[in-house]
Each structure stands twice: as structure tokens, then as C-alpha cells.
């Protein structure tokens, strides 16, 4: 927010009121503009009345003079007062008054000066569009921003002058010795100007329109400002993140920004899942206990409410809306005829579709931002030094944050600087890096093999009976050991490489990611084994249950031979049911997620909070300095946290199809962890030893996320496409494959020609060319983007060169050159350029070339040049009598043109 209202802030305590608080300020303005017309006269009258009273505390002589003055003013007033009701009228009055020569001496003088200024400006017009544009721009801003009544007499006069000037220009533009293009340009500008200000000055009919326009403009600007503020206020946790950033640097903040982004995405997923699947089922589906899949089986009912069972997500949890198994396979539910199975499948696919789209879009946007402002590292420290404090900060807490952020940003720059400077002994470093990478590859390969080995062993163990505790849990133990040791090992090895911490973080992330992939692999493998076992088991149970139902009915008719009607349905709790592998998978993922949350939070509580407490309070009675020495306070582990977040999201993506409630759990998790981690960071951590600046776009995180998304997409799509759904639970029960729902819908609900259309579309003869086309399109777009990139680079280079040249020219060119240019403009043939010009260009080119090479030398040169132009002599011709050859004051917009500092 502070950035946005830069020019509109309030600094009331230096005696300045700006409209940082737009409401009050505008109110003042409004009331002023309402009563503005009458104010001056009233004030003067009042002043006259109270004159005698004032006399006491002021000395006599000036007072008398003033009184005389006032009388004079009062005498002049009557003729103006009658028309003072409206602003424009008042202005007209002002004009009238101004027209009277000698009414006000000072004003007259000013007028004269203005005339001179105006003339000068006219001559200045010869100099080209740049200056005029700026003047018109400024007057525009004046017209927009300033109060009408604040336009003093002098300003108004000058404006009048200018309008006249422009009119004259319009009248005799034909006679100007300019080229057509330029004439047109000037004509347009002049006309715009006249249109604008004739109304303002109360001449012409645009008066009322002008007042209205100004009012609307002001309203509009105010609205925009408010809206901007509102928008900024709507960004959640912005304040928290900024606070963290100011103390811990942008790298830590980047994690929280990532977390916030993740929360936003999950919120959308959550609303999709709950809005289209969970809530319809709860509201319109059959209630709990009505059918077998929605009832806890008889043998489990005793323990179904036990805490330990519930925390394992068995019992009532298992047969709740949180999991796949609960959903019924009715084609439509409720009076709305909501097609729940179809919706279920669509949401499952839509989750992935939306996530992919969002991730890729964000990546593209970040890449866009990243390319934008890579310029200017010329004066980093000087700028930080001279411009970092925000002088409008009036709140002590904000000031503290600002202190911290200035310190942090200095530290960041120091780190960058150190990295830039050390490039000694490149061979050694290269060797070390190769060595480090070799070591890490070895570690990764070793751990991969270890995982493979352990998984194989555990599969063997499954068939054995007498297993010890270790054999049972071997896989988990090995995995968590790897997860613990691996990152530390990588960090130690990474120190060999001596990368900039930002790059080191990326490497670290990539390596741990690779390690964790092994984790994922074992988990999925175990899961698939389980699923396969369940599938086999299911086949048997299916037969058994069919047999059992038959038996039940046979028994019923046998036992009650008199009853000829249909037998009463079985109690749903007694029905034999299949294992429902989907729910098992869902429970597995939910358990994993929940335990992950627990572990993360406990780690923070123990590893950070408790440690900080111990370090802080035991330090008083310990034999060495705990704060500076060994345990010290924890640092925020960026790589670990980011990876935790990414992998957690992978779990959600994979599990969401089988456990719709998982998304809700995840939203809660992200929400709490935002507050919890923010607190933990601020309370128990210390900034990194080398605070470093995060790269602008956290595309690296996004890349990891994309990879995980893709990886988690695979198993889900595989199960949807090729595993048969359970026969007695879930929305797809009874179907051969899950996606049969779509085919069914196409056949039953859509008109038949659409069905045939789909069969055509699904024809491989059509799909293969489509894929080919897409590949070609990708190739084409890729090459186009590369070409653009090259062009961009080229343009950047050119811009840099142009800027240097411009700088040189601005400081260097004397006034005659401008005239030369004008002449040149008139010349019919450009090849007749005067040789002097060419020589000059060459000279300049040389300078431009020198500059980038030897910085010190170039800058020195420039300085001489700027001093030369600051020399008042260069401005000499300006004040002299108007002649056609004299240019306007100064070439640039007042940079090099001012005289040397006076004081």
C-alpha cells in the first residue's frame, strides 16, 4: 500500500496535509469548491471587521499600510462581488480584473514576465516536440489535480497567454518552415491544449462542461485510488509475510508466498470437490445406514466409536462421506436428478486439469515478470543508502520492520556482492563441484539401491510368519533414516561447491527431491501390492456374497413357507461386503497426510520452540554460551519446508480421488500452518547466516510442483482407466471400468448423433493426427518464442547503447546542434549531411564505446561533460533578445541544465 499512494500521502506533522486519506481531503476540497466562490469576500470582510482588535498585538506602521491595502482591495471588490457565485464566473471575474492594467502592480510585472516566457516558449518550439509535450503534460496534470480556485491570478494569466500563443500557432502554422509531419503534430497538440484550457479560463462555451469534467475526473481518480487500496487490503496475509520478509529476507518470504499460493489453489479444489460431490451426496443421497456401503458392519460396530479406531480412520470415519466407498452408484440423486457418479469422475479429472492449468499459468506469468527488470546494478549500494528509508512512516512498529528490512536488504546485497567478487582459482572450484556432484550421485544411487533392496526383502518377508519387530518395520525405518540423513549429507557435500546460497538452495531442493522420489516409489509400490491383493480377495467375496444372498432368500422361503411375498431386505450391517480397495487407498493417503501434519507441527514445536526456550533460558546457568555456541537458535529450513509442502500436495492430488475429504483436511492444514509457521519463524528462529535474495519468480518451486503433479497424475489415471472398481462400494460399483460412466451418459442422455460424433472422435485415426498437430504447434511456438527471446536481447542491448548515447548527447551537445538538426530536417536529401555532423556522431560513438569497457574512465568523461553543460554560458543565449536561432532553455528536462548549486 505505501508504494501505491506515493504522491498522495499524508505528512500532517510537518504541517503538510496531503490527501493520503482521500476521503477527508476530498471532502475538504468539495466543501471548498462549493463555498469557494464566496470565501474570499467573506474573509476580507471579516478581516476588515476585526482589524481594530488586531491592532493591539502588532506594530503600527505595517498595519496601516496593510489597512490601506485592504481598503484598496475592498474598493475594487464591489464590481466583482456580484458575479462571485460560481467558480467559473469568479474566474471570469478574475480575467476581467487581470485585463485591467495596473490593478495590481506585482501582477502586472508577473504578466510581463510571462509574456517574455511565452515568447521564449514560442522560440523554444523550434526545438522539437519533446519539451512541448512535457509542458502540455504538466499543464494537464495541473488541470486534473489542482483546485480551480487555487489557480492564482498569475497562473491564470500565464495560461491565457499560452492559450493565445497556441491559437496564434494554429493560425499561422502554414507559414512555418517545417515538414508536414511535424506541422501536423504541433497542430494537434496546440488544438488539444486550446480545447482544454479555453474552457478552464471561462472563455468559450466549454465552461460548465469543463467544470463537470474536472469533477468527474477527480471522482474517478479518487475511486481508482480507493480501489487500489482495497485491492491491496484484500491480499491475505500480506502484512504477515512482509513482516517475515523484513526480518528474514526474501528467501524465507518466498516460502510463505508459495504457501499462500498453494492455499489459494487448494481452496478452489476444495470448493470443486465439496460443492459438486460431497454436499450433493450429503443433501440428496441416501442417508447413513440405508444400504450396506453406508453402514458400519456388525462385527465392527462395537469398536466403531473408539478413539484409537477413529484416529486410524476406521469405524465411523471409514463409512463416512470422507471416503470413496460411501458414495452410491445411483445414476441420479435427488429431485434435481444430479448425476453424482458422473460428477464424481469429472471432479476427479477436473482437479488435475485445474491444477495443471494453474501451475503452468503461474509459471508462465512468473517467467514474464522475471524478464522485465534485469537492469541497473550500477548503484545498488548507493541507492540503498540514499533512498531506502520511507520518510512517511509514522508508526513505530512499521518503523521497526523497515529497520529490519533495510538491514536485511543490505545483507542480501553483501552476499550477492561477495559472490560476484570471488572468482579466484576457478579450476579448484570446478574440480570441487564435479567431485561434489559425483559424491551426491553416488549417494543417490546408493540410497536408490538400498530402497530397492529393502522393498524386495519386505516382499519376501510378507510370506513368512515368524518375524521380529525389526523385520516388520524395516522398510519404514530405513526410509525415515534416509530422509533424515540424506538432506544433512547433501548439505555437507554442497559446502564443497561454494555456490551462491540461492543456487545452492536450488541444488539442495533438487537433490532432496530425487531422494524423496524413492520414498514415493516405495509407498506406491506397497500400495499397488495391497490393491492387487484386495482385487483378488474381492473376486472371491463377490461370489460368496452372491451365494450368501441366494442362501438368505432360500432360507427365508424355507423358514416361512406361508409368506409368498418378497422377503424383507437384509439388515445392511449384516451384508457380506468386499474389501473396497478404493477406500483403503483413500484411508492410506489420509493417514499419511495427517501423520505428516503431526510430524511437521511437532518438529516445529520441539525443534524450534523448545530449542529456543532452552537456549534462551538455560543460557543464564550454563557453562558455555548457548546462544552463540552449539545449539543456538534454529534457522528456518527453506528447502525442507518447500519440499514438505510439495510432497504433501502430491499426496493430496493422488488421494483426493479416493478420499474427497482429503482436500478439506489439506485446506485446514495450510490455513493453520500459515499462522503457526509465521509465529514459529518470528518467535523462535534466527535469520540465516547469509541472508540471500530469492529470485523474483519462484518458478523453481513451481517446477517441482509440476513434476510432482505429473507423477501423481500417473497412478490415478492408471487406476481410473485400467482397474475395475469394487463391486459393492463407490459411485462406480457395478461397472467394468470407472470411465464407463461417461459412455453411459453419452448413450443415455445425449442425442444419438452426439454419441456417434464421440465415437468418431475417439477413433485413433483422428487422435494420432491431432497429437501430431499439437506436437508441430509446440515446435512452432517454441521456435517463435526463442526468436523473440533473441530479439529481446538484441533490443535490450540497443536500448542500453541508446541510453548511453543519449546521456552523452544530453550532456554534450551545445545549442547550435539543435539548429543544425532543424536545418537537417528541412533538407530534402539526407545524404547531404554536413560533414561536421558525421564527425560528431563518430566522436559520440567512440565515447559510447569507451564507457562500458572502462567504467571509471567513462564516468569521468561524463562528469566533465555534465559540468560543462551546467556552465551558465551554455544557457547564455536563452535570456537574450529573441531571435530565430536561439533555442529554449536547456536541452533535457532540467537535469544537466541547472546552474551549479547556489548555497
Amino acid at each position: 500500500m505505501p508504494k501505491k499512494s506515493d504522491n498522495t500521502r499524508k505528512l500532517e506533522d510537518v504541517g503538510i496535509e496531503i490527501d493520503g486519506d482521500p476521503d477527508s481531503a476530498d471532502e475538504v476540497k468539495n466543501t471548498k469548491s462549493k463555498g469557494g466562490g464566496k470565501k474570499p469576500t467573506g474573509k476580507r470582510g471579516k478581516a476588515d471587521d476585526s482589524e481594530d482588535g488586531e491592532d493591539e498585538d502588532e506594530d503600527d506602521k505595517p498595519q496601516k499600510a496593510r489597512r490601506a491595502n485592504r481598503r484598496k482591495a475592498a474598493q475594487q471588490q464591489p464590481e466583482e462581488e456580484d458575479s462571485d457565485d460560481e467558480i467559473p464566473q469568479r474566474r471570469a471575474a478574475g480575467n476581467r480584473r487581470r485585463g485591467k492594467p495596473g490593478a495590481n502592480g506585482g501582477e502586472n510585472g508577473e504578466n510581463k514576465r510571462n509574456k517574455r516566457g511565452g515568447k521564449k516558449q514560442k522560440e523554444g518550439k523550434g526545438k522539437g516536440g519533446g519539451k512541448k509535450k512535457s509542458s502540455s503534460e504538466d499543464s494537464k496534470s495541473e488541470g486534473g489535480d489542482e483546485e480551480e480556485e487555487s489557480m492564482s491570478e498569475g497562473e491564470r494569466a500565464r495560461l491565457m497567454e499560452e492559450v493565445e500563443e497556441k491559437k496564434k500557432l494554429i493560425a499561422n502554422i502554414r507559414n512555418k518552415p517545417w515538414r508536414m509531419k511535424r506541422r501536423l503534430k504541433h497542430l494537434k497538440e496546440a488544438q488539444l491544449f486550446v480545447d482544454k484550457f479555453e474552457g478552464a479560463l471561462g472563455k468559450g462555451k466549454g465552461r460548465k462542461l469543463y467544470a463537470y469534467k474536472v469533477m468527474m475526473m477527480k471522482k474517478w481518480i479518487k475511486f481508482q485510488r480507493d480501489f487500489d487500496n482495497f485491492k491491496t487490503a484484500c491480499i491475505p496475509w500480506e502484512r504477515k509475510i512482509k513482516e517475515v520478509e523484513s526480518h528474514f529476507g526474501s528467501s524465507v518470504a518466498s516460502y510463505f508466498i508459495f504457501l499462500r499460493w498453494m492455499y489459494g489453489m487448494n481452496l478452489v479444489l476444495f470448493s470443486l470437490t465439496f460443492g459438486l460431490v460431497v454436499i450433493p451426496e450429503v443433501l440428496m443421497g441416501l442417508p447413513y445406514g440405508s444400504i450396506a456401503r453406508k453402514t458400519v458392519p456388525r462385527e465392527e460396530q462395537d469398536s466403531a466409536m473408539d478413539y484409537s479406531v477413529l484416529t486410524d480412520f476406521n469405524g465411523y470415519c471409514k463409512y463416512s462421506v470422507l471416503f470413496y466407498g460411501y458414495y452410491n452408484n445411483q445414476r441420479t440423486i435427488g429431485f434435481l436428478k444430479f448425476r453424482l457418479p458422473l460428477s464424481y469422475l469429472m471432479v476427479g479429472i477436473g482437479t488435475f486439469g485445474y491444477s495443471l492449468m494453474v501451475v503452468i499459468r503461474t509459471m508462465a506469468k512468473n517467467a514474464d515478470v522475471g524478464g522485465g527488470d534485469g537492469e541497473d546494478s550500477e548503484f545498488t549500494f548507493a541507492w540503498k543508502m540514499f533512498t531506502s528509508w520511507d520518510y512517511l512512516i509514522g508508526n513505530a512498529e512499521t518503523a521497526d520492520n523497515k529497520y529490519a528490512s533495510i538491514t536485511t536488504s543490505f545483507k542480501e546485497s553483501i552476499v550477492d556482492e561477495q559472490e560476484n567478487q570471488k572468482d579466484e582459482n576457478i579450476h579448484l572450484r570446478r574440480f570441487l563441484r564435479v567431485l561434489a556432484n559425483f559424491l551426491i550421485t553416488c549417494t543417490l544411487g546408493g540410497s536408490g539401491y538400498l530402497i530397492y533392496f529393502v522393498v524386495k526383502r519386505s516382499q519376501e518377508f510378507q510370506n513368512m510368519d515368524d518375524l521380529g519387530w525389526y523385520e516388520k518395520n524395516e522398510l519404514e525405518i530405513i526410509m525415515s533414516l534416509l530422509g533424515l540423513v540424506g538432506p544433512m549429507l547433501f548439505e555437507t557435500i554442497a559446502e564443497l561447491e561454494e555456490y551462491h546460497p540461492r543456487i545452492a538452495l536450488k541444488w539442495q531442493l533438487g537433490r532432496i527431491f530425487a531422494l524423496f522420489l524413492g520414498n514415493l516409489y516405495t509407498f506406491l509400490l506397497a500400495l499397488f501390492d495391497e490393491v492387487n491383493a484386495k482385487l483378488e480377495e474381492e473376486q472371491e467375496i463377490k461370489n460368496a456374497s452372491i451365494w450368501f444372498t441366494k442362501e438368505y432368500y432360500a432360507n427365508y422361503t424355507l423358514n416361512n413357507p406361508n409368506d409368498t411375498g418378497t422377503p424383507p431386505p437384509m439388515d445392511p450391517a449384516d451384508v457380506i461386503r468386499g474389501p473396497c480397495w478404493e477406500t483403503t487407498v483413500g484411508i492410506e493417503f489420509v493417514k499419511l497426510t495427517v501423520s505428516d501434519i503431526q510430524v511437521t507441527y511437532l518438529t516445529i514445536l520441539i525443534g524450534d520452540f523448545l530449542r529456543a526456550m532452552i537456549v534462551r533460558f538455560l543460557n543464564y546457568c550454563w557453562c558455555w554460551d548457548l546462544e552463540a555456541g552449539w545449539p543456538s537458535y534454529g534457522e528456518f529450513d527453506i528447502s525442507g519446508n518447500v519440499l514438505g509442502l510439495v510432497f504433501n500436495q502430491g499426496m493430496i492430488w493422488m488421494g483426493a480421488f479416493y478420499a474427497p475429504g482429503l482436500v478439506g483436511i489439506n485446506v485446514l492444514r495450510l490455513l493453520t500452518s500459515m499462522y503457526y509457521q509465521c509465529w514459529a519463524v518470528m518467535a523462535c528462529n534466527v535469520p540465516h547466516e547469509r541472508v540471500f535474495k530469492a529470485s523474483k519468480s519462484n518458478n523453481f518451486y513451481m517446477g517441482l510442483l509440476l513434476l510432482i503433479l505429473f507423477l501423481s497424475l500417473l497412478p490415478v489415471v492408471y487406476t481410473i482407466m485400467s482397474l475395475p472398481p469394487s463391486f459393492d462400494c463407490g459411485p462406480f460399483s457395478g461397472k467394468e471400468r470407472m470411465f464407463d460412466v461417461i459412455i453411459e451418459t453419452i448413450e443415455l442422455d445425449l442425442p444419438s448423433f452426439l454419441g456417434t460424433l464421440f465415437t468418431y472422435a475417439a477413433n485413433p485415426g483422428l487422435i494420432i493426427p491431432a497429437i501430431l498437430l499439437m506436437v508441430l504447434a509446440i515446435y512452432y511456438l517454441n521456435s517463435v518464442s526463442q526468436a523473440y527471446q533473441n530479439a529481446n536481447l538484441e533490443l535490450k542491448k540497443k536500448m542500453q547503447m541508446a541510453r548511453d548515447e543519449e546521456k552523452n548527447r544530453r550532456n554534450n551537445k551545445d545549442s547550435t546542434n539543435q539548429v543544425m538538426k532543424d536545418l537537417e530536417d528541412l533538407l530534402p536529401n539526407r545524404s547531404n549531411l554536413p560533414p561536421a555532423e558525421e564527425a560528431k556522431d563518430k566522436h559520440e560513438e567512440k565515447k559510447a564505446k569507451v564507457k562500458p569497457g572502462a567504467a571509471g574512465n567513462g564516468v569521468n568523461l561524463q562528469k566533465d561533460v555534465s559540468l560543462a553543460s551546467a556552465n551558465p554560458n551554455a544557457r547564455g543565449p536563452v535570456t537574450q533578445a529573441p531571435g530565430p536561432r536561439a533555442p529554449g532553455p536547456g536541452a533535457g528536462r532540467g537535469r544537466g541544465q541547472g546552474p551549479p548549486p547556489r548555497r
Partner: protein, 194 residues
């Protein structure tokens, strides 16, 4: 709102201030009432303590420097004229008055704005920002969070970046060059109510 305060102001004073600073009449009266309310001693002049009561200045690390800028050398009182003269540095630049009077540069020109900023850093008023001065200012800005050594290297770097004539200090022209790309006209402007 400023009627009482403005009654204490003489018309000629206003005229003169107007001419000198370019403020409009109503701005001057408004600022005068502000001046008056800051003036706890009721003696028509502000002391340093009066300024230090302003929270923005109290928490600003360079607050003392800013307050200093209000006071002419060797004095510890500033009257309304001086007050206005300092404030005039922050008046937004309007282009149509830039070429009004080429001989006398207005107080709110880019150069004068920069000069004002320069003075904040130039503690001993020798028109040069030396390494020691930078160090002092840095100390004010970052406190004790960065080691002396690093502060020293920051100051060195700053000078190295800005210094072009090799005298190991930053002169005003070098200062201008450093801030060449900063939009000083806009950043060092405050929209005074009219």
C-alpha cells in the same frame, strides 16, 4: 480553519513568501496554522524539541538530520519564513513555472531537492559526503545488526560506486549522477492542500 492564524500573518509577508517559495495564498495560511500548532512555546518560532514531537520524525533514523535541515547554521530557532523556505523544497514541480524565471532557480527544482537530500548526508556541511559520514548515517539506519566491518565495506562500496574523481568522497555532482534515474521530482514532492 486558518482564519485566526492567518490573521496573525501580514499580507506583505504572505506576498513575500509567495514570491520566494511559490506557495499559494491559501497554502501559506494553512501551513501557518500548522506552524502555529507545532509551536508549543508560542513565541513565533520552532525549536528542535517542537520538531521532535512529530512522530514521523521521531522514529525516522535520519529525523535529526531532517530537523537540522530546517535550522540555519548555528541557530536553534526557526521562524515561519525559514520553515516555509524548507518546505518549499517539497513543492511539486510544475513545468510551466520552470521557465518562468530562468535566472533565479525555484526552491523546488530538481537540483534543490537533491541538494536538500545531499545535506541530510553531509553532516559537516563541507559539500562532500565522506566515508565517515556515510558510516554514521548507516549506523543510524541499520543499528547494530550489521558488523562494523560490513558497514565499512558498504560505505566503501557506496563511495566506489559513486565516486568518479577519486577523492574517496561523494560530491554533490556525483550525488546527482547517482540519483539520475530516480524520479526525484516526484518522490521528493508532497501535495500540499490548496
Amino acid at each position: 480553519m486558518g482564519s485566526r492564524a492567518s490573521s496573525l500573518l501580514r499580507e506583505e509577508d504572505i506576498e513575500e513568501i509567495k514570491k520566494e517559495t511559490g506557495f499559494s495564498h491559501s497554502q501559506i495560511t494553512r501551513l501557518y496554522s500548522r506552524f502555529h500548532s507545532l509551536d508549543k512555546g508560542e513565541n513565533g518560532a520552532l525549536s528542535r524539541e517542537d520538531f521532535q514531537r512529530i512522530p514521523e520524525l521521531a522514529i525516522n533514523p535520519l529525523g535529526d538530520r531532517i530537523i537540522n535541515a530546517f535550522f540555519p547554521e548555528g541557530e536553534d530557532q526557526v521562524n515561519f519564513r525559514g520553515f516555509m523556505r524548507t518546505l518549499a523544497h517539497f513543492r511539486p514541480v510544475e513545468d510551466n513555472e520552470k521557465n518562468k524565471d530562468p535566472t533565479a532557480e525555484p526552491l523546488n527544482s530538481r537540483n534543490n531537492k537533491l541538494l536538500f537530500a545531499f545535506r541530510l548526508y553531509d553532516l559537516d556541511r563541507d559539500d562532500k559526503i565522506s566515508r565517515d559520514e556515510l558510516l554514521q548515517v548507516l549506523r543510524m539506519m541499520v543499528g547494530v545488526n550489521i558488523s562494523d566491518e560490513q558497514l565499512g565495506s558498504i560505505a566503501d562500496r557506496t563511495i566506489q560506486e559513486a565516486d568518479t574523481n577519486g577523492d574517496m568522497s561523494i560530491s554533490f555532482s556525483e550525488f546527482i549522477k547517482v540519483l539520475e534515474k530516480v524520479d526525484v521530482e516526484q518522490k521528493m514532492s508532497i501535495r500540499f492542500l490548496h
